[in-house]
Point group: C2
Chain length 498, copies 2
Amino acid sequence: MDVYVSGVGMTKFGRSKNSLEKMMSEAASSALKEAQLERVDAIYMGVMNVEEFVGDSNYATLLADTLGLTGVPSTRVETASSTGAGAFETAFYAVASGHMQNVLVLAGEKMTHLPTAQTTRILSEVIDRSERRYGATMPALAAMIAQKYGREFNLSMLKLEDILAQVAIKNHSNGSFNPYAQFRKIITKEDYLKSQMVSYPLRLYDCAPITDGASAIILSSQPTPIMVSGIGHATDTAAVRHRASITSFNSTKEAALKAYTMAQVNPSEIQFAEVHDAFTLFEIIGTEDLGLFSPGEGWKALEDGITHLQGKLPINPSGGLKARGHPVGASGLAQLVEIVYQLRGEAGRERQLEKAEIGLAQSTGGLGNNNLVTILERSDRNRIMKVGTTRSREGWSPDYHPKIKASKKMTTSPPSEGVGILETFTTLYTTPEGFRSPLTLGFVKTKGGELVMACNPDYRSPKELKLGKKVYLNTREGLYVFEKLTLWNRLKHWIKRK
Amino acid sequence: MDVYVSGVGMTKFGRSKNSLEKMMSEAASSALKEAQLERVDAIYMGVMNVEEFVGDSNYATLLADTLGLTGVPSTRVETASSTGAGAFETAFYAVASGHMQNVLVLAGEKMTHLPTAQTTRILSEVIDRSERRYGATMPALAAMIAQKYGREFNLSMLKLEDILAQVAIKNHSNGSFNPYAQFRKIITKEDYLKSQMVSYPLRLYDCAPITDGASAIILSSQPTPIMVSGIGHATDTAAVRHRASITSFNSTKEAALKAYTMAQVNPSEIQFAEVHDAFTLFEIIGTEDLGLFSPGEGWKALEDGITHLQGKLPINPSGGLKARGHPVGASGLAQLVEIVYQLRGEAGRERQLEKAEIGLAQSTGGLGNNNLVTILERSDRNRIMKVGTTRSREGWSPDYHPKIKASKKMTTSPPSEGVGILETFTTLYTTPEGFRSPLTLGFVKTKGGELVMACNPDYRSPKELKLGKKVYLNTREGLYVFEKLTLWNRLKHWIKRK
């Protein structure tokens, strides 16, 4: 059964004095009003961590009751930072099953009321325990990926910095036209360069902010001008270092392939996209993983203006997570609200895209762990092939890097000491509670070919380290530590082992 | 599209040294093996509060990876203590939509490793804030409902005590035959009476224990001997006192009506049921709300042996939450695993029911907030009407008490002081952190007809209070307090107000 969008709504994103329920109610009311509904068959409610951010449990019930929908079945759905998209997917199947006619998808998060250190700790819980114990945060892992991407595609640090700045500048510019965005001011390259280093080479302007907000969509079995044409969902290893590549995400590629197959379209048909730019580089990687650009070419499309609001394939017309803000549970659904506004031609004079008949949203849970790709289109769009689930689709298929079967097989290997290669690293300045700042973290490839996370208490400046160089890998208090590869180090450890 | 069960699995419930992932893996492995599958199209994973019990977030991904199913779409579903049933429902729609062929439903909770006071605090977060701030716990609210039920159906406290004891004794006896149960010892009335008072009149043996465990079910679109014939889901007001009646749950009734309608059966056709006996009386209320017995008659069926293992309509053949244990996220799914064992004739010589062609499970989220009813049957069962969603069904429909539209409309009323009626109360001995023990809590009906929660710091023994008596309602530090209705009290407050 085909599934349609019959109403959308969202709050302004940013720092809000309202409670989570109040924000959710505001978004839901708009969506219900658009759909001309007073009652729905079910609520699928996405919130990432209401337990620790707000101190409540049983939130699906509380919400139904607060909305004046007491009695309506209400289910909470969570897939980390892609939660909004996960709730949408779950609701999609409920309607597609023919058992439900109208379903409210609602997603939100309340984050700004807590101290940043506490918020950082809560957000870090999405990271695999084995990496979290080193003090790794989301920005730290993203920074390590950024350095590795630069090296893989032969970008100088200056060039990489320029690309990252361009993503931030473009998305802030787009956000300036979006009345729902947290940040509505444009930024310059100078502003970017002045912004605080969070985790080398990522600055504050490379990271999506901490935000309050909620978004809502009504899905219906009754035809409307907007239909859901494809949904794909895939996970990846919990630990980032367990992947064969860290400069592209299999989870996005697999989710994209499923979504394109269901929608019976190829990437070349996509006219615009909302991409999970929790960190600036992730927009570039996302557009490559989605097959919109070739690997290592995403940044060129940005430079050439293709992904700009007036370009051939606008990315994040809303301003993205970067400028619209990132209430973790809500973002995945807010992306879809933007797609709907664009498809309807309701995005406003400055933000409205010329060509908007089919759009795609890509949402990431955790560090590339639990990703969803959703394609929406105008019901009156001229299609060559009918939307479906069974037909095979000829065309694009992703260039997966070797898939890892399961992390657990890799974590059983014995600890390695000795010479290794520094695959990537970061120097983290905004450390979580209990960790000294700055904190240097890296992925080191051991002689056995395994990638391990390691820290280095000695390095003070990232300039002292280089990717691809040999380091000495050592263990201290149960943690891997990497050091400069000096004769003295090698001798010291040789003696110790005797 | 019809949906079938192709595999089930569960761990032994109880105190476990294993991690939550390990327990989940064990349950999943059994289910996958039964279904002869190595891969599934999706995982729907239920856990109520992994953030606070275990300290992890992004758990759906972690689980897929741990199971060796890296890459498989994985979604966390939560509906408080009915989470396992909620995950099953969500997976049901995914398969029913025709988009998925084989889906793993997995549910679990790890609870026993924390101090009881901390566990109690975490569990209390499911209670509406306005009631939680008085120190109300789940047992406290259940105890207030038990007293009210006794009064409503003219049961003496001695009679009520005997009924509650009988539920506990029956379920412990059933559990003694269940190799997966936490408690496998039978108990006597003497044991029951000796057990510690938790919240008057509920004793330790009236409350489901704190438990670790996991359960798993594979749902498939391919026919198997067991089919899912009906699912219903409904919520109720977040605050218990906002309901027109507290001795039956509209959420169960509505969920049951939906499930019966989808399955095209009447309650009289149900041969056995697993009912959410988190507190002994809830089994009695559950059987009444499900239409298996008339209101106020459930306890008679128990007394007459009808709900015993050898009776005409066995309730909780597994031992129920009471004896099998209650890992909050897992219980709703474990009930369905028991139904499958019974339908297949695999429950073991002592526990296997004679007639087991159609069974029902009822699961409760929070205090009657977010309830699910699921009906499973043998695919070869002789049916009069085909399972479906559209046909109307003649027969039973529940006797709802007046439905409250939304709690928010009631919480805006101004505070009331003066004479009120004590509708029900409890004396709570196991208080949450920050509250003195014993703590006397009650629902008082104000002159305006509103039910408010109130505490009383003076009463030391529940014997001093009586349901239906007048009390003096007062406010102290923003909380309602009720006192004996003496001339002095009335005078004092009269003077204060002048």
